[in-house]
């Protein structure tokens, strides 16, 4: 064979290069074989997520059922009735959007200045928008259905902003402390307990503000009176993910 004519040294070199090639191929192979993401959830976590999904499915089914009911009402009615049920729907929608006054049980949270913890503190405590946003988020998280900051009803697009050391909600100032937040909820006790133990108390205390939470059986929230500006919203033409 011709290969035998090679010197031993040459053979060794070629073998060495073959070794390198083999090594490289093996590394590449192992790298490509790696599974990128493994599901490491245990049985309990999977059950919990299934339950969550089932709950959201149920909620969606309920929504479909109500929508279908409304549709049936529209179909099986005379013109006058149709108009009245349309009006009813509009009323419902307005209520959902926060354009009407709303009564119900709930809690009030009074924000008051806290003077105890500093000596010679001449500054009057200032409210800031960030804290209020946190508070609103937490209230929504714990089951608040409707919220009003002072006289300003919070709707889905209500801005809470700092303007010249004043907090503006819906474009108008809510004034200095003390101020009151009205919250409607279906389960006042639950919400109150959550707020009592919330970390937010500490955050507010850092700004020298204390929270006074009271349960109220009969609350009236003001309506949102400014026009709702939806210029920024567009109808999405493309199909959303998950739809077919």
């Amino acid at each position: 064979m011709k290969m035998n004519r090679l010197k031993n040294k040459e053979k060794l070199w070629i073998s060495f290069i073959c070794l390198i090639i083999g090594f490289m191929i093996a590394i590449l192979f192992v790298t490509n074989q790696q599974t990128d993401q493994r599901d490491t959830r245990d049985l309990w976590e999977i059950r919990t997520s299934i339950k969550e999904e089932q709950e959201s499915q149920e909620a969606l089914y309920n929504e479909i059922a109500t929508a279908e009911k409304v549709l049936q009402e529209y179909n099986g009615q005379s013109e006058n009735q149709q108009i009245s049920s349309l009006k009813e729907s509009i009323g419902d929608l307005k209520e959902n959007a926060g354009l009407t006054e709303k009564k119900g049980q709930g809690i009030t949270i009074s924000l008051k200045p806290l003077f105890s913890n500093k000596e010679n503190n001449l500054e009057y405590p200032q409210l800031n928008a960030e804290l209020l946003q946190l508070l609103v988020n937490e209230l929504n998280d714990y089951g608040a259905t409707d919220i009003a900051l002072g006289n300003e009803r919070i709707i889905n697009i209500s801005p809470i902003r700092d303007v010249n050391n004043n907090v503006y909600v819906n474009g108008s100032s809510i004034g200095d402390l003390p101020t009151t937040i009205y919250v409607l909820t279906s389960d006042s006790n639950n919400l109150m307990d959550h707020m009592e133990v919330s970390e937010l108390r500490d955050y507010f205390a850092l700004e020298d503000i204390r929270l006074e939470i009271k349960k109220v059986t009969e609350l009236v929230l003001p309506a949102y009176d400014a026009p709702i500006n939806l210029d920024g919203l567009k109808v999405l033409d493309s199909i959303e993910e998950g739809e077919e």
């Binding site: 290069i17 090594f23 490289m24 191929i25 093996a26 590449l28 790298t31 490509n32």
Partner: protein
């Protein structure tokens, strides 16, 4: 002929046993380098069969091609051009050419031995 093959297997075993993996972003470079290495190897085998084998050409070709391919891929990533495609194309074409020539040479040799 058996020694390089043995070392190839040895390299494969070594690679699998050490279980080294490289980050995904570098996998491209390695795949190009592997292609270049294979190209050089087959080129070497062909040269050997044609009695034109030169050890220096083979060894420098191996390291030069591998690093050039990796560099080309790197440059491509930096410039946003898929330059590694050029490397894959060049090496792929050469690989097939070399394999075809090797096959023919082996066939001729087989016929020669049969006679």
């Amino acid at each position: 002929m058996w020694l390089p093959a043995l070392f190839l297997v040895l390299g494969l075993i070594l690679g699998f046993l050490t279980n080294i993996t490289i980050p995904d972003i570098y996998a491209n470079y390695l795949s190009i380098a592997v292609l270049a290495a294979l190209d050089t190897l087959f080129g070497g085998i062909r040269a050997q069969l044609e009695d034109k084998f030169d050890q220096k050409v083979f060894i420098t070709g191996f390291f030069f091609n591998v690093s050039l391919a990796a560099f080309l891929a790197f440059l491509g990533v930096q410039l946003g051009i898929d330059l590694y495609l050029a490397a894959i194309f060049a090496f792929g074409v050469r690989l097939f050419q070399n394999l075809a020539i090797i096959r023919r040479l082996l066939l001729e040799k087989y016929r020669f031995i049969k006679k």
